[in-house]
Amino acid sequence: MSEMVVTVAVVLGTVFGLLSAVGILRMPDVYIRLQVASKASSLGIALLMVGVAAHFGRLDVTIRALLVVVFLFLTAPVAAHLIGRAAYLMGVPLAEGSKPDDLAGRYDRATGELAGPGPDPERAEPVRKGLRSDEATSGGPTVSS
C-alpha cells in the first residue's frame, strides 16, 4: 500500500519536473516561463516529498518533508514575483501575441514605484480611470500644461 503511494507520487512528481523543463524550453516569454517554472516545479517537489514521507513512514522524516513543502510554497511565489518585477523594470519585452500590457506607462522607472497613469505623476488621476494607458492619456480630462 505504502509502496504504491510512493510509486504514484514519485512518477507524478517526476512528470511535473519534466513538464516544467519542457515549459521553460518552449514558452515564448520570460513571464510565461516564470509561471511554468514556479508552479509546475513546486507541485513536482511537493509530490516527491509526499513520496519521501510515505516511503520512510517516520515522524521526523515526515516533518522535514512537510517543512520543505511549506517553505517551497511560501517562497516560490515571492521569488517569482520579484523576478517578474525585475524583468519588467529591466524592459524585457513581452511575447508577440500577448496584447494587453496593463502596466504600460504606469511604472516610474526612476524609483521603481507604481506611478499614476501616464508618464507624469503630478497629475495623477485615479488608477481605475482606464484600463490601458493609451485610453487614460487620450480620453481623460488632461490639463494641457
Partner: protein, 94 residues
C-alpha cells in the same frame, strides 16, 4: 544502503533519468536565454530539480538524512533568486 524492495528500483532509475533530462533541457535555456532574467528563472528551476533529484535519491538509497540537503538547497535557491532580482533591478534604474 539497500535499494528499496524490487519493484521500486526501476521506477527510481527511470525517475532519475527523467530528472537528468529535465536538467539538460533547463541548462539549454541557461545557455541560450535571450535576457538575464531568462537565465535567473532557469537557475531557479535548476535548484528545484536538484532538490527533487535529492528526494528521489533519498528514497532509492533509504537514507533519510538527505532530506536536510533538500531543505538547505531550497533556502539557498530562494536567497539567490531574491539577490539576483534585487541587484538586476538596482543596476538598471538610475
Amino acid at each position: 544502503m539497500n535499494i528499496a524492495d524490487g519493484v521500486l528500483d526501476p521506477i527510481i532509475g527511470a525517475a532519475l533519468l527523467a530528472m537528468a533530462i529535465s536538467l539538460i533541457i533547463t541548462f539549454y535555456r541557461i545557455v541560450r536565454g535571450p535576457s538575464l532574467m531568462d537565465r535567473v528563472v532557469a537557475l531557479e528551476l535548476t535548484a528545484s530539480l536538484v532538490a527533487g533529484i535529492v528526494a528521489i535519491y533519498a528514497i532509492g538509497t533509504d537514507e533519510p538524512a538527505l532530506i536536510d540537503v533538500a531543505i538547505a538547497l531550497a533556502l539557498v535557491a530562494f536567497l539567490s533568486a531574491v539577490a539576483f532580482a534585487h541587484y538586476a533591478e538596482r543596476t538598471t534604474q538610475r
